[in-house]
């Protein structure tokens, strides 16, 4: 229990201290909100889809969460290169609690980032259902847990940061772009919808839309069910690969 707490605390402290990381991670969502939200807004409206910013904001929150969580999970690689991983591996605590503490820490950080992006979206003109904010934070935490665990599982199999670009381009980017974060899945071509159904982020963004704007493609119970189930699978995978790390 203490081990989980201290691993969590470490992640949170490191994040809170690195102002450049916080600001840096906000740049991309702001750019997306401004360029796409304002740029494509009129087109979206003309097509009879309503306010694009209201549609886009939950997607951008989802984006910042997936990027931050996977990146946090990948910190394992840094820890391996800087040697710190050994310190935790030789400690008299189970690898399960170490992995779990790290994942919780990474997820907390990503959720905080998601809340910041929500704030920025509101400043940009996003008008959410205010009663949905607390449930939205819960959904953000679920998404964050899911992708932190995935990041950890992937990072446990990599030896250095060389593979990072590969992960970004062939895992994170497709997960984001095919999730329906930027466009409505309800009238997407069948093939695209089919692909999006295999993307856990689709359900995360969809759940956020449910609680924040009330309009979405899937049912909220399906969203939550998929998120919880996939989080469970990824946590299990993360523990499995993490416990096999050799230092």
């Amino acid at each position: 229990m203490n081990a989980i707490y201290i691993m969590w605390l470490r992640e949170v402290k490191r994040f809170a201290r690195s102002k450049s990381r916080i600001v840096g991670a906000l740049g991309q969502p702001i750019l997306f909100l401004v360029a796409l939200g304002y740029g494509l807004g009129p087109v979206f409206k003309q097509a009879g889809q309503g306010n694009y910013l209201d549609f886009l904001a939950p997607g951008i929150i989802g984006m910042s969460i997936i990027f931050t969580s996977i990146f946090n999970g990948m910190q394992v690689i840094w820890d391996r290169q800087f040697g710190f991983l050994k310190e935790t591996m030789v400690a008299p605590v189970s690898r399960l609690s170490i992995m779990f503490g790290r994942t919780l820490g990474g997820a907390t950080v990503a959720t905080a980032q998601g809340v910041l992006v929500l704030g920025i979206a509101v400043i940009a003109g996003f008008r959410p259902d205010w009663f949905g904010v607390i449930p939205a934070i819960f959904v953000m935490l679920l998404i964050a847990l899911l992708f932190s665990a995935l990041g950890m599982a992937v990072a446990s199999r990599l030896r250095d940061m060389q593979g990072f670009q590969l992960i970004m381009n062939f895992l994170v980017m497709p997960l984001f772009f095919l999730s329906g974060a930027l466009f409505p899945l309800s009238n997407a071509p069948a093939a695209l919808l089919w692909v999006a159904r295999f993307d856990p982020l689709s359900y995360g963004v969809d759940a956020l839309r449910h609680v924040l704007t009330g309009s979405a493609a899937f049912s909220l119970s399906l969203d939550l069910l998929v998120l919880v189930a996939v989080t469970g699978v990824f946590l299990w995978l993360g523990v499995f690969f993490f416990s096999r790390i050799e230092v």
Partner: protein, 267 residues
């Protein structure tokens, strides 16, 4: 005297490769013991088995009377280790690194604060306790790691080439700390080094390992006598030969090779 470490017929193989072959030795409680050998001789593999990072293929190990394979956590609580490469969190302060370690090892809050203070004094880092480790010099980091390794009152301290890359002043200081600890707290010290004069000066007993087997054991003087050499370095060279070793790769590499073989080159 009770043995702090007892190793009998220890063998470790990685597939076809035998890294450690039928090794036996024991380290008495309160002793300072040096474990020497050329690169790739099996030093690191042995330390990894002693410190629960690797399982033995055969043979037996007891550390503080406990078998690491049977109860890894109990063994882990009973030793401290300073790794060959740094293993601190550079983005945390000196104090936080120690605090982190204390929590992981289940040291109670009250004891923790006091012990951290004491140890920082011992390694002369009290004034830098709130500074980030990334701003520390190599010697300061090493001292902090030693403090960390001692935080949970271990009965054995493993030092894997603790003085590698440090200047003579820092090396000297560092060994005085270690000797002081050994004297004042009765900590058993097990270390490896490539500096023979250090081993000769500090260790009460020395074992030399080569090609996975122990080829000589005894005090520095005994080893010199045995080989008729003037210095431990000369004794070491006459025992292990003078040709340069191509490192056979770390145990980690062997493991990877072995696993790749078994899983059909998955990696």
């Amino acid at each position: 005297m009770e043995a702090a470490i007892k190793v009998e017929h220890l063998t470790k193989t990685f597939g076809e490769f035998t890294a450690v072959k039928d090794v036996s030795f024991s380290v008495a409680a309160g002793e300072i013991f040096a474990f020497l050998g050329p690169n790739g001789a099996g030093k690191s593999t042995t330390i990894k088995m002693l410190t629960t990072l690797l399982h033995a293929s055969s043979g037996s190990i007891t550390v503080n009377g406990i078998n690491p394979s049977a109860d890894a956590d109990a063994v882990r609580r009973s030793f401290g280790i300073v790794f060959q490469d740094p293993s601190l969190d550079e983005d945390l302060t000196a104090w936080e690194n120690l605090e982190f370690h204390g929590v992981l090892y289940g040291v109670s809050k009250k004891v923790r604060a006091q012990r951290i203070g004491e140890l920082l004094n011992l390694v002369e880092l009290s004034e830098r306790k709130n500074d980030f480790v990334r701003d520390f010099s190599g010697g300061m980091k090493r001292r902090l790691e030693i403090a960390r390794g001692l935080l949970h009152h271990p009965r054995i301290l493993f030092l894997d080439e603790p003085t590698l890359g440090l200047d003579p002043q820092t090396r000297n200081h560092l060994w005085s700390y270690v000797q002081k600890l050994n004297r004042d707290e009765g900590v058993t010290v097990f270390f490896t080094t490539h500096y023979m004069e250090e081993a000769d000066r500090i260790a009460q007993r020395i074992a030399i390992i080569d090609h996975g087997t122990i080829i000589a054991q005894g005090s520095g003087d005994e080893l010199k006598q045995q080989t008729g050499a003037q210095t431990l370095e000369a004794a070491f060279l006459s025992l292990t030969g003078s040709e340069i070793r191509e490192e056979a790769g770390s145990s980690l590499d062997h493991m990877r090779q072995f696993r790749a073989m078994r899983s059909g080159g998955r990696r």
